[in-house]
Symmetry: C2
Subunit: 109 residues, 2 copies
C-alpha cells in the first residue's frame, strides 16, 4: 500500500481494447465530403430542393463553375449525391441511402 498513487486519477485505467474500426475509412470519407463549407451548402441545397441542375448550384455559390464542378465530383465520389444526365444539363440529387449512412455513423458515436 505504500505505492498507492496519491494523485487523484482523472483517467480511466480500464484496459479496453480498441475495436478494429473497419468503418473508420468510410466514415472519414463521408466526413471528408462535407468538410468544406461549399460542400455543406451544396448538400443542404440539394436536400432542400430534392433535386436540381448543376448550373443552379453554381449560381448560388460565389465560386467559379469549374470549382463547383470539382466539389460536385468530390460529393459524387463519396456517394452522397448522384448526377443524372438530363439532356445537356446534369441533374444532381441526394443519395438518401448514403446520407442515412452518414447520419447513423455520426449518431452512433
Amino acid at each position: 500500500m505504500a505505492k498507492k498513487t496519491p494523485t487523484l486519477k482523472r483517467c480511466d485505467p480500464s484496459p479496453v481494447k480498441l475495436n478494429p474500426d473497419p468503418t473508420a475509412d468510410d466514415f472519414a470519407k463521408l466526413a471528408w465530403a462535407i468538410a468544406h463549407p461549399a460542400r455543406v451548402q451544396i448538400v443542404r441545397f440539394l436536400i432542400g430542393r430534392h433535386a436540381c441542375v448543376c448550373g443552379e448550384i453554381v449560381q448560388q455559390l460565389p465560386l467559379a463553375q469549374s470549382t463547383v464542378s470539382q466539389h460536385l465530383k468530390i460529393l459524387k465520389e463519396s456517394g452522397l449525391i448522384q448526377g443524372e444526365v438530363d439532356g445537356p444539363k446534369v441533374c444532381y440529387c441526394i443519395n438518401p441511402v448514403r446520407l442515412k449512412q452518414l447520419k447513423s455513423l455520426v449518431a452512433g458515436l
Copy 2:
C-alpha cells in the same frame, strides 16, 4: 400546347432560395476534424474510454507519436476533444457539448 416540354422533368424547378447557412463553416470545421481515419479512431476510442492518456492513443495507432500529437491538436482545435494536463501526462477526453453539436448538425441535414 405545342411548346409543352416533351421530356419528363426530373428536376424540381421551384425557386427556393439558398439560406445563408451561417453554420456551414462550423459544420465543415467539425466534419474536417473527423475527416481522417486516425481521427475517427481517436474519437471513438475516447468515447469508449471516457478519458485516457495521450500515450495510450499513440500505442493504439500505427503512427508516430508526433503524428498522433498533430491529430490530437486538430481535434482539440475543432473543440471535439479537450486535453487536461495531469502531471507529465495529458489526459484527453471528449467534449460532450461539441460532440452533441456535431450530431445535431448531421442529424439536421
